[in-house]
C-alpha cells in the first residue's frame, strides 16, 4: 500500500511542477526496482489512477482525478494507522 501511495505522491508532485513524472524520476523517488514499478504502474493505469503518455524518450505518467481522490483518502488512512504506531 505504501508503494501505491508513494508512486501517487511522486507523480502528483511532478505533475504540479510540469508535464508529469518520468519513469526514472518515479524509480528514484519511490526507491523501487524497474520491474516492480512497471508491474504496479500498469495496474494503476488499468484502475484509472494514473494515465500514461508514451513518448519516444520514455513514458510520462500523470495522476488522474480518481488517483488524486484515492491519494487523499490514502493519506488520511495512513495518518490513522500512524496514530496507532503502524504503517499501511
Amino acid at each position: 500500500m505504501m508503494i501505491v501511495s508513494d508512486i501517487l505522491k511522486v507523480v502528483k508532485e511532478e505533475c504540479s511542477k510540469g508535464e508529469g513524472a518520468r519513469v526514472t524520476m518515479i524509480l528514484r523517488k519511490a526507491n523501487l526496482p524497474y520491474n516492480r514499478l512497471t508491474e504496479i504502474t500498469e495496474r494503476m493505469v488499468k484502475n484509472g489512477l494514473l494515465e500514461v503518455d508514451l513518448q519516444e524518450k520514455g513514458s510520462i505518467y500523470r495522476i488522474t482525478p480518481k488517483g488524486e481522490e484515492v491519494l487523499e483518502s490514502l493519506i488520511k488512512f495512513e495518518e490513522f494507522a500512524k496514530a496507532f504506531g503502524l504503517r499501511l
Partner: protein, 212 residues
C-alpha cells in the same frame, strides 16, 4: 467486576462500542485499499470488543454460574488475542497463519469445564490478564518508539490510551482491591478506550471536511 445490570454494564457497552468503531473504520480502509495493516487493526479491535462484551455479559450474570465464569474467562482470552494481533501488527510479520489457530477448537469443551471451577478459573483468568498486560506493554513501547521517530502528534492519543489500559490491567493483575476501587479500574479502562478513539474522530473529521 461483578455488576448488576447498570452502570458497570454501560461501561462495558461503551468500551465495546469504541473498539468496534475503530475496527469498523479500519475495515472500511481495508476494503478500500486492501491494506493488511488495516485488516489486522480491524481484526484486533473486533476481538477486543467481543472479548469485552463477553466479560460484561459474564460479569452481569446469565443466571448459570458455570456459563458466566466460562464466558468471562473466554472474554479475557478473546481480548488478549486482540492485543496479540495488534502487537503482531507492530512486528509486521503476520502472514496467513491466523487461520491455523482455529484448528484448536477441540480444546474448547475441556477448557469450559475446567474454567468453570472457581480456583482454576481464577488461575486461567490471571494468565489471560498477564498475556494482555505484556502485550499492551509491548504495544505501548512500540507506539512510543514510533512517536519518537516520527514526531507524530496524533500518536500521543493512543499512547495515553494504551498507558491507561496498561495501568488498569496492572492494577487488576497485581493489586487486591476493595469492590468500590475495582469499579474505578473499569472506569480507568473506559477512559483509556475513549482516548484510543481520538484518531478515529480525527479521521472522520478529515473524511468529512476533505482536508488531508
Amino acid at each position: 467486576m461483578s455488576y448488576p445490570l447498570g452502570a458497570g454494564f454501560i461501561i462495558v457497552i461503551v468500551q465495546f462500542a469504541v473498539a468496534v468503531s475503530i475496527a469498523s473504520v479500519s475495515m472500511i480502509g481495508y476494503r478500500m485499499f486492501g491494506s493488511r495493516t488495516l485488516f489486522r487493526m480491524a481484526l484486533s479491535f473486533y476481538l477486543v470488543g467481543v472479548g469485552l462484551l463477553a466479560q460484561g455479559v459474564g460479569s452481569t450474570g446469565l443466571g448459570v454460574n458455570t456459563l458466566d465464569i466460562f464466558l468471562f474467562t473466554l472474554g479475557l482470552y478473546v481480548e488478549a488475542s486482540g492485543y496479540f494481533v495488534l502487537a503482531i501488527s507492530h512486528v509486521y510479520t503476520v502472514r496467513s497463519e491466523i487461520g491455523s489457530t482455529i484448528e484448536y477448537g477441540g480444546y474448547i469443551i475441556p477448557l469450559m469445564i475446567l474454567a468453570s471451577q472457581p480456583s482454576f478459573a481464577f488461575l486461567v483468568q490471571g494468565v489471560a490478564r498477564s498475556i494482555s498486560f505484556f502485550l499492551l506493554l509491548y504495544i505501548l513501547g512500540e507506539s512510543l518508539i514510533f512517536f519518537a521517530k516520527n514526531r507524530n502528534g496524533e500518536a500521543l492519543l493512543p499512547i495515553a490510551g494504551f498507558f491507561l489500559l496498561v495501568v488498569a490491567v496492572f492494577v487488576r493483575l497485581f493489586l487486591v482491591l476493595p469492590t468500590e476501587t475495582s469499579d474505578l479500574v473499569d472506569i480507568l479502562k473506559l477512559v483509556g478506550f475513549l482516548i484510543l478513539s481520538g484518531p478515529l474522530f480525527v479521521l472522520l473529521a478529515r473524511l468529512r471536511g476533505g482536508a488531508p
